[in-house]
Every structure is written in structure tokens, then in C-alpha cells.
């Protein structure tokens, strides 16, 4: 365990918390938007372009193929990107704080 930081540590400043939460929330929201576009867009596509969505591909209708099969890998890709970025963010924060502590 690292030593307990003194109370005047930069970690306890308002700016640090703000920056911390904003960076992580921005990443989460970006990933969520990518997901929501697909998730909420598919019913709309079904509603406004039923002919297109009924196109046959390997016997499936296009919309069945997207929802029943292709959706899963797409979500894995989003979550993989999120995990990598978010772990990098955390490490970056630790690096920053440690640099500042050394500086004091």
C-alpha cells in the first residue's frame, strides 16, 4: 500500500476530482452513444425501411442477422475499447499524482 497522502495533497483538490470524473464520464458516454445508435437505430430502421431490412442474407432477413448474430461482436468491440482506454486513464491518473507528490 502506498503511504497515506497528507491532507493538503493535490488529490484532495476540487480540480482533481472534477478532472477525474469528467475524463472517465466522457469515455463512458462516448462508448454508450456508439452502442445506443445501433440499439435504438435498429427499431427505427425496421419501422421506416421494412423492405430493406427484409433482404435475404444466407436465408436470414437482414434485420434478423443484425439482431440475432452481429450485435454481439459489435458490443464486445465497444467494451474492449472501453476497458483499454479506461485502464490507461487510471494509470495515467496514478502517474500524474505520483509526479506531483514527488514534486512537493
Amino acid at each position: 500500500m502506498p503511504p497515506t497522502p497528507p491532507p493538503h495533497d493535490a488529490v484532495h483538490s476540487e480540480e482533481f476530482l472534477h478532472a477525474l470524473m469528467r475524463r472517465q464520464l466522457k469515455l463512458s458516454i462516448a462508448c454508450a452513444l456508439a452502442f445506443l445508435v445501433v440499439l435504438l437505430g435498429l427499431p427505427l430502421a425496421n419501422y421506416f425501411a421494412p423492405e430493406l431490412m427484409a433482404t435475404r442474407i444466407f436465408g436470414f432477413t437482414l434485420t434478423w442477422l443484425v439482431l440475432g448474430v452481429l450485435f454481439f461482436p459489435a458490443v464486445w468491440a465497444i467494451s474492449w475499447i472501453f476497458i483499454r482506454r479506461s485502464i490507461w486513464l487510471e494509470e495515467d491518473e496514478v502517474r500524474q499524482v505520483n509526479n506531483e507528490r514527488k514534486g512537493n
Partner: protein, 618 residues
């Protein structure tokens, strides 16, 4: 259960029950029990019981969460619902799997960092309010019981299926539905009270792999014999001019559909039987000449609304299921919690590709299931389909049937044990350990855990006996709707918004959750009132409601799938009430937010807990 029943059961076993099916199911139950007993020896501390010592590795934990999550609804219900409702039912498996993304993006890491035992612990710690703990406990129990009912139905249905051919001394055939409920409920209750969380982690991890094997192997064999997934979907006409079934699809073996089965185009296209039920009922109540115009105007828009509401319920509900959330506390740290979630999504995503295939092939090869009701309907397509192979290939088919039955057993046993642990945790840790007797010793708390497990198991079994006529997947969907309107807004807002107060959180969660609960109860009661059996008499008072639904299909949709208005309502109330009571934001909110969001490596959590303990005196 009386002794004569047992004797007759053993006598009946000799004839009528497939030895393979019985054998595989029996082995699954015995392995589950054996692992429970084994881990009972190593579960000693309270931490072992409640959060498995917080030391579960990513691989084990991901398997265990997946094992816990893939319930009877996933194993049997999804296939049955795809068979009965077609395309629209695909939203269930997809959202079950993808809801985890929301959990991963917004909740998993911070929740684990806070370092609580249960969700009510988090609720109290975040808002410094013992009152809020009580409210949170009530919701753990509410959602938990709602979610156990379909698991119990899965147990009853599967056992009734296995023993369908035995003959009793009075000449009747088959095993009553309630016997399965009682038997499986008792086994799991015993397991949980022996080993707690640590005991079931191992069991559930193994059960995931049993389920994945049991759902995929029969599908591969079925597809190699009867044709590829796509061809079976392709055998259905879409009804669009120029887009006829592919020529190859004609080679697919297809039995004529029974009268009750939905028509091809209706089944394979979006906005089918599931989402248009309310509008169709409303149209049926109109004079014949107005029906077509009414349907043309209302069917698709209402159906779109239903679809969106279902998506919101399932995606937000996944992120708010207490028995899943409690598992995140078993991770060593926040990064491990995120990694675990990622693996869970892969494991359950792979699983969820398969159940719809059963439904699609079942539509072509076993249309007679459309005529069945209750435990004899489409819900059992997963169990029935492999028997086709038994007729063709003899013993190989029987082995496959045995494997799917074992998978079904693993499904409702692992989910039920997970629910039991989270509800028992709420009762033993939050109610007994924190409210009734805060001074109790760890040994007393472990006894409390065991007693609570038995009490909750008994209540769940009793409830399970009443739900034979509700569709498994539908009940699960409603549990999700309640979780989506109560826990999801609570967790999301209290993790990301520091201005949240206890009053705001409680108002939003209670209003959202209770609205969803009432809406779900009204729909269920009016459905039960239609039943011809004893259930119909009990709920006969709700029969007039069906007339009302026919008059107002929009209200029926909003009651059946309430998430589209309850989730925004809960969120809005949280914001408004919190703003009004802004003075009561906890004083050390900045520190709390730091603990939730700062990486563990900064060592803030330890500091927070020391400070807190010094301040609070416990």
C-alpha cells in the same frame, strides 16, 4: 411431500422415464450438492459467506456471474418465446447480453471501489442514512422474489417433463408441477445455507460451462441434421414482394403449422405477435368493418413504442439486478471488476446466440407445441427438440436430451442460488446484522445467514407454486422493468452526480419501482384471471380489467412494459427532489466521490475507511 409419493415415484422410475435424461439431470444435482458440501468446509468467515472473501479471480468470477445470470429464462424461456413470437423476442437475448455494457460503462468499477458488502450497504454509505438502507433492503427482496418465480417455474416445468410418463397408484400420469418447485428449491436452499457466497461461486462457474455445453452441442447436431440456422429462418415467407424464401430453404423439412401458430410474415418480421398483442385485442373488440383501418393506423406505432420500452427495461434492468451487482463485490479491485464485466459479456453473448436457434428450428419441426399451454407449451422446446434425434438415431438422441435437461437444471439452480444469496445477504447482513442486532458476533451472523436462507427459500418455493400459467421470459422481463426503474437510476445517479441527496434518491427509487411493480402486477393479475383453472377463480376480480385494456391498448402497453415512463420518472424525481433538498448533501461528499472514482493505487479508500471509522465510532 408424503412418503407414499416417494415410493410410487421410485416405482414409477423403472418404467416411463428416459434413463439418460434422468441420469444426466441427477448427476448435475448431485455435483451441485457435492460442491456445496465441499466448499462448506472452507467457508468460515462472514466475509466468505457474503462476498467470498473478496478474492475471486477474473476468470472464475466471470464464469460465475455468467452462470448466475443465465437463468431458466435464458435457457428455456428465450427459445420458447422466439418460437411463439418470432423476431420481436430476439430483443430479449440481445438486451440481456448488452445490458452488461451499461453496467460496465457506468457502474461496475465505482461500485466495487466503494467497498461495501451489499447494495443496501452502498446506499447507506453513500448517503449516511440508515433509513435508506431499509428502503434498499425492501427492494432487494422485492426484485429478488419477482425474479425467483420464473426460476421456480423452470424447475417445475423441467421435472414435470422428465417424469411425464410415470403412472401413479390412482391411475393419473406425470409429476405435478409443484413437486419440481419444492424439490429444486429445497436442494438449493440447503446448498446456500451450507456454503454461502464462497460455496456457490464455484458451483455457478461450473454451471456456466455445463449450460454453454448443453445449449450449443444439441444445436450443432440439430443443424447438421436438419439444416443451418439461416435456412430455417429463410423458410418463413417475409410477405414482401420480390423477397421470397431462398431456393435452398425449400429443402428444409417443415411440418404444417397448427392453427394457433402465427403466420410466417408476421412471425419473421419486426412488430410481430409480441409487440402488437394489445392493439390486436383492441381491434378484436371493434365492429368487423372498422378493424382493418384501426390496425393500419395503430399497429406499427404502438408496436415501436412497445419495442423501445422493452429495450429500456432490459438494458437498464440488467444494470440494476441486485443478485448480479452483489457479485461485483467479490472482485479484488475496480480494474478487476471492469475486466470481469468484459468477460461476462463475451461468455453470455456466445451463449445467447443459441437459444433462438432452438426456437426457429422448433417452429419448423415441432409446430404442435404451439397448441400447448402452461408447462406443456413452447417453453419446453429446448427440452423437446433433441427427442427428434432420438427417433432418428436412437441412443445418441437420448444422450442429447439428457444433456439439455442437465443444462436446464444447471440454469435454474444457479440463478436461484444467486438470488437466494443476495436476498439472504440482505436479510442477514442488513436487517439482522445492522438493524436488529448491530452488536451481534460474527458467529451469530453466520447462523443468521443460514436461518435467513431457509426462510427465503421457503417463501420463494411457495410463490413458485402459483405461477405455472405465466410465461417464464415474460415474468423475467417484468423483474427487469422493476429493477430498471429503481436500482438503475439510484446507482447511476449516486455514482455520477454529487448533488444527489438521500431524499431525492429515495423518492425517485420508490416512485419508479412502485409504479413499475403496480403496472406489472396489474398485467399479471388480468392475465391470470383468464386462466380456466383454480388460478382464474382467485384472480376473477381482475377480469373486467381485460375489457379496459381492449378499450385502451396504449395503456395496456404502458402497463405491460412500463420502463419507458418509469425510468425517466425516477431520474427526474431524483434530480428535482435532490435540488430541493440540496442542504442535506453529505458533508464529506468530495471524499466519497474520490473513493468511487480514483484508482485504488492512490490508496484513498483505506484512508476513507479509517477516517470514517474514527468519526462514526464503529
Amino acid at each position: 411431500m408424503s412418503t407414499p409419493l416417494f415410493i410410487v415415484a421410485t416405482g414409477g422410475l423403472l418404467g416411463g422415464v428416459d434413463p439418460w435424461i434422468f441420469g444426466f439431470s441427477f448427476v448435475t444435482v448431485v455435483v451441485t450438492l457435492w460442491m456445496g458440501f465441499r466448499s462448506a468446509k472452507t467457508s468460515r468467515t462472514a466475509s466468505d459467506f457474503f462476498v467470498a472473501g473478496r478474492s475471486v479471480s477474473v476468470g472464475w468470477n466471470a464464469s460465475a456471474i455468467s452462470g448466475e445470470y443465465l437463468s431458466a429464462a435464458s435457457f428455456m424461456g428465450v427459445a420458447g418465446m422466439v418460437m411463439s413470437s418470432g423476431y420481436d423476442a430476439l430483443w430479449y437475448p440481445v438486451c440481456y447480453a448488452c445490458g452488461y455494457l451499461f453496467l460496465l460503462l457506468f457502474i461496475a468499477g465505482p461500485l466495487r471501489r466503494f467497498g461495501a458488502y451489499t447494495i443496501p450497504d452502498f446506499a447507506e454509505g453513500r448517503f449516511d442514512s440508515p433509513l435508506f438502507r431499509k428502503i434498499a433492503v425492501c427492494f432487494v427482496l422485492f426484485i429478488g422474489f419477482f425474479y425467483t418465480m420464473p426460476q421456480m417455474k423452470g424447475a417445475g416445468t423441467t421435472l414435470a417433463y422428465i417424469f411425464q410418463n410415470i403412472t401413479w397408484s390412482d391411475g393419473t400420469h406425470g409429476l405435478p408441477y409443484w413437486v419440481g418447485v419444492v424439490l429444486v428449491g429445497a436442494v438449493i436452499t440447503l446448498n446456500v445455507s451450507l456454503g454461502g457466497m464462497k460455496g456457490i461461486t464455484l458451483v455457478q462457474a461450473v454451471q456456466y460451462w455445463i449450460k454453454a455445453f448443453a445449449i450449443s452441442l444439441p444445436v450443432f447436431v440439430l443443424m447438421s441434421v436438419y439444416g443451418f440456422y439461416g435456412l430455417h429462418v429463410g423458410a418463413n415467407q417475409t410477405g414482401h414482394a420480390g423477397i421470397e424464401p431462398v431456393a435452398v430453404a425449400q429443402s428444409i423439412e417443415r411440418k404444417p403449422l397448427v392453427e394457433k401458430a402465427p403466420k410466417d410474415a408476421y412471425w419473421v418480421s419486426p412488430f410481430g405477435p409480441l409487440t402488437t398483442k394489445a392493439v390486436n385485442a383492441a381491434a378484436a373488440a371493434l365492429p368487423a368493418d372498422q378493424r382493418a383501418a384501426y390496425l393500419a393506423e395503430h399497429q406499427r406505432p404502438y408496436s415501436l413504442l412497445y419495442t423501445y420500452s422493452l429495450i429500456i427495461a432490459l438494458v437498464c434492468g440488467t444494470a440494476g439486478l441486485p443478485h448480479i451487482l452483489v457479485r461485483f463485490y467479490t472482485n479484488p479491485d475496480g480494474v478487476a471488476a471492469k475486466r470481469t464485466t468484459m468477460w461476462v459479456m463475451i461468455l453470455i453473448g456466445v451463449f445467447y446466440v443459441f437459444p433462438p436457434i432452438f426456437g426457429v428450428i422448433g417452429r419448423d419441426l415441432m409446430p404442435e407445441l404451439y397448441s400447448g399451454v402452461g408447462s406443456k407449451g413452447t417453453d419446453k422446446v429446448v427440452l423437446e427438440l433433441p427427442t427428434l434425434l432420438a427417433a432418428k438415431y436412437g441412443v445418441l438422441g437420448s444422450i442429447l436430451s439428457g444433456i439439455t435437461c442437465a443444462g436446464a437444471f444447471a440454469a435454474f439452480m444457479s440463478t436461484f442460488s444467486g438470488l437466494l444469496v443476495s436476498m439472504t445477504g440482505a436479510l442477514a447482513h442488513d436487517v439482522y446484522g445492522r438493524m436488529l442486532r448491530p452488536q451481534s458476533s460474527p458467529a451469530e451472523r453466520m447462523i443468521a445467514f443460514k436461518v435467513s436462507a431457509v426462510v427465503i427459500g421457503a417463501v420463494a418455493i411457495t410463490l413458485g407454486c402459483f405461477v405455472e400459467f405465466l410465461e417464464i421470459n415474460f415474468m423475467v422481463g417484468q423483474a427487469f422493468a422493476i429493477a430498471a426503474a429503481s436500482y438503475f437510476p439510484l446507482l447511476f445517479m449516486s455514482v455520477w452526480w454529487r448533488g444527489m441527496t438521500m431524499k431525492g434518491a429515495a423518492t425517485g427509487m420508490l416512485t419508479g419501482g412502485l409504479c413499475a411493480l403496480c403496472a406489472a402486477a396489474l398485467t399479471n393479475f388480468s392475465t391470470l384471471a383468464l386462466d380456466k383453472g383454480p388460478m382464474g377463480k382467485v384472480f376473477a376480480g381482475f377480469a373486467p380489467l381485460n375489457g379496459f385494456w381492449a378499450q385502451h391498448p396504449l395503456l395496456r402497453i404502458l402497463a405491460e412494459q412500463p420502463a419507458i415512463w418509469t425510468v425517466p420518472l425516477a431520474l427526474a424525481l431524483m434530480v428535482v427532489v435532490s435540488k430541493a433538498t440540496a442542504a442535506s448533501v453529505p458533508g464529506d461528499i468530495r471524499m466519497k466521490m474520490l473513493v468511487l472514482h480514483a484508482p485504488e493505487k492512490l490508496g484513498l479508500k483505506q484512508e476513507y475507511i479509517q477516517e470514517h471509522q474514527a468519526g462514526m465510532g464503529h
